[in-house]
Symmetry: C2
Subunit: 509 residues, 2 copies
């Protein structure tokens, strides 16, 4: 029997505050998955699913103070940020309830039988999407609510009709426990089994989870090594399963000559705010910024240096991240031709505090293998300014980038080459911004939070209404009598779901 304790740790002091759980054994994971699996039939009712999501939002709000207090102690992200994150989380749950109610995600397509159809007679075909089964959710370190137990993966999976087993992140086990209990209470309050969501702790639990035969899909937010290891396990199963992992992203930014000339100070200050936001612990942190050489770029860097220099020190999420950040900064700073106009470093005496910094390097260096590290994500409050001499150097750097969640272009409207640059950035990312900064991911129907590998291991999104698509599988029913069909597939469309009928799109609302 595994009794390895799971400790809650105060991120500001590094001190253990309480033993809040034990790590799940392989047997525990098996029981968790079987319990969730048994809850599948109950989730088939869309009305109940929508009610569950709304009740979950209500319960989380009711326990908001408790959640924010625990999350702040465990992550040091601050009560303001975490209160906002809770609002985002409950908004997201309710948004998915609306998605469930509308039913467009079912992708209903009906073709009536046509004995005279060419090139062959056609049977009656009625297609819709069905839940995949139990979904394993791996919580993220940096969003203890919005990308963890009650986050987007969980909300979208429940919306799809899939029970969830969440593997808690070790940085916030107490927060995870509170959130899980709120969600389980919500389930029972609407007449669903609590086991539509089950929480497990421990690294081996995650490995067991992704390999369990009754787990049908997985959602993950975390590091490239951890995510790739789990992706590989998912793909190597006797029955492979979809693994929707968000692993890592550099989030490149290109500042044109025109933009630097017009808005150097604004861009420099904005960048300082973006890369230090949440102590640089966003997956959308801009990690590489291409800035022109010359006086306009110098002005930009001056504003950036001022902003970054003024940015307060703060705690990172855990000791491993702090060590990784400090080592990553030092490794990059030691490379030839890399300057540290504002040096990151240790701060304070206890906990995981660091102070932000940035690096500056001629863009030409970035095409050299020796400087490869500068094109890889360094988690925490650091960014890299690459000073370029012309479009060829920009192209040379972009040509060496992997996939990203975001890519940003700062250009002046009408500036020559802007269209081409935008087109050049599109294959590199899932979200392409014109101006502004990538930190801050709106929860909206059109959001795409997912990009080419390693940003994401699939073409899915983990934010926005279409995140539900990851947990569904189409099934077509052929020549099934209406009495045996679900109402969503009846001709009369009693539930008024959007559908494609004999080729034509219908939006009944």
């Amino acid at each position: 029997m595994n009794t390895t304790p799971v400790w809650s740790v105060d991120a500001r002091t590094g001190a253990r505050t309480a033993e809040v759980a034990v790590e799940a054994s392989t047997g525990d994971v098996d029981r968790a998955v079987r319990a969730a699996h048994a809850a599948r039939p109950a989730l088939a009712d869309r009305t109940l699913r929508a009610a569950l999501l709304r009740a979950a939002a209500d319960r989380l709000e009711a326990r908001g103070e408790e959640l924010v207090t625990a999350a702040d102690r465990e992550t040091a992200l601050g009560a303001v940020r975490l209160t906002g994150e809770l609002a985002r989380t409950t908004y997201q749950l309710r948004a998915f309830a609306a998605v469930v109610d509308e039913g467009a995600f079912l992708d209903v397509v009906i073709d009536h039988a046509d004995p005279g159809a060419q090139p062959a007679p056609r049977p009656d075909l009625r297609r819709w999407k069905t839940p995949l089964g139990v979904v394993a959710v791996f919580a993220a370190s940096n969003f203890p609510l919005a990308f963890s137990v009650p986050g987007g993966d969980t909300a979208s999976a429940l919306a799809a009709g899939c029970p969830v087993v969440v593997k808690a992140h070790p940085d916030h086990p107490e927060t995870s426990g509170i959130a899980a209990s709120a969600l389980r209470e919500a389930a029972e309050s609407v007449g669903l089994p609590a086991d539509v969501l089950v929480l497990v702790h421990g690294r081996q639990a995650g490995v067991d989870l992704v390999q369990h035969p009754l787990v049908s899909a997985a959602g993950f937010t975390g590091s490239i090594p951890g995510g790739r290891a789990l992706f590989d396990l998912a793909a190597a199963r006797p029955v492979p399963i979809p693994f929707h992992g968000e692993l890592g992203s550099l989030n490149p930014v290109v500042v044109t000559e025109g933009a630097a000339a017009e808005r150097a100070e604004e861009i420099g200050a904005g960048l300082a705010g973006s890369f230090t936001l949440g102590m640089g612990q966003f997956c959308t942190k801009p990690g590489l910024v291409l800035v022109p050489q010359g006086p306009d770029g110098d002005r930009l860097e001056k504003a950036l240096a001022a902003g970054a220099g003024d940015a307060p020190a703060g705690a990172l999420l855990d000791g491993r991240m702090r060590a990784g950040f400090l080592a990553g900064f030092a490794e990059r700073a030691a490379l030839p031709d890399v300057g540290t106009p504002v040096a990151a470093g240790e701060a304070g005496e206890a906990g995981y505090a660091v102070k932000p910094g940035y690096l500056s390097v001629p863009a030409a260096r970035l095409v050299q293998d020796s400087h490869r590290a500068l094109l890889e994500e360094c988690f925490g409050p650091v960014t890299v300014i690459a000073r370029y001499r012309g479009p060829e150097e920009v192209e040379a750097v972009l040509g060496r980038l992997h996939g990203n969640l975001t890519a940003t272009l700062h250009a002046e409207p009408g500036e020559q080459g802007a269209t081409e640059l935008l087109a050049r950035l599109t294959p590199l990312a899932g979200r392409v911004l014109f101006g502004g900064w990538p930190t801050g991911v709106a929860v909206a129907p059109a959001m795409q939070h997912g990009g080419p590998y390693p940003a994401t291991t699939s073409t899915g999104t983990s934010v926005g209404g279409t995140a539900i698509e990851r947990w569904l599988r189409p099934v077509v029913l052929q020549n099934v009598p209406e009495a045996l069909l679900p109402p969503e597939l009846h001709d009369a469309n009693p539930l008024r779901v959007p559908r494609r009928l004999d080729g034509h799109l219908e939006t009944p609302r």
Copy 2:
């Protein structure tokens, strides 16, 4: 330099008729992929893509006699079937042209900026789907047209805007060459580069193709071992790619007591026709049929035996398949309690001819590991009748099945337990039929030709309008000025694409 010749073989005689190509070397594959990759920008124009698909259909029809003659010689499937398959193929190409024209597949979602949005201000977000890049298509043995060079994977990939490199199936290299040249001519006739489709031959070419860094996705139809090996390579790449493989399917059928009582002869005769159609070489061939014990089931078997006994001998696609079929039948027939009311076997003296047969076994045997082979696909004209004593035995057998393309229920309308059986079959398959037979896959918007593993390695379909979704990736543009947006994302919607605008579905046509 690789000069291994590729021979066209007459399937009726087994004789080599002509050396029609050479196997592609690793360098050849690299050149093929790079040529296709260079054709990507040209395919960005949706109007040209639709024109390409229609021109391809026209060219294939113009060369129809040549294609059918070559395909019949190489596969022995017969001119009638192949003429029908050509019609299906050209219909499919034109259907995808209509999908491209309509633009619903772009999944356009627009959220206007809302500075007052809760829980956070919202930027202008415009999401659509973009082509993934070069798609590798692995042609199927059993459909030299509809699932090969000009087949559904190619048509849907081109429709999505992805150039295609097809790995020809060794059973029909000459047919593949003719079809590829027709498609390349079609491309040039509409002003596109011929290299939107490139053909390669050879087993190693397939291995090289799925590992090429510029290949972004793959479509495959074939065997479980071959498909799984390629799936594993795709997943193990430094940058993994989606691998949409259709590998194998048992296609279970359940005949209830009521259906057997009412329609024993009709069901028996229908089954004989379905499992011998195309010499049993359909991925949707019913390979396991649960039939009640007792006199009604006996009548069903009698009709089946009559039909199967009358079914003509014919050539399989190649010598490997013939050997596998004969060995597979003999292995299963040798198991305890397995009867061979109609024994399959060799037929004729030349070529790959066999005669159809079927096996009969008590359903209780199928829960024993010794009889595992009876629950695995045996390609060719054979099916397994499992005689059951009650619902518990049906459930026990269904509980041992892997995923399938199809599952079929023969029940009487209103028969007790029919609803539950239909629900029981749904998790097992992508298409669930009430009555009829699974052979024959309608090309229709609602079709789902893809089911749980090993039927398919993804949740996609390889037939029907939604097959296009496999080759696309969503991208959202944030705060991009209209002058830099594609017309599909303009507020005024000049191209009249269906979309979701500020949450509301719009169908402008």
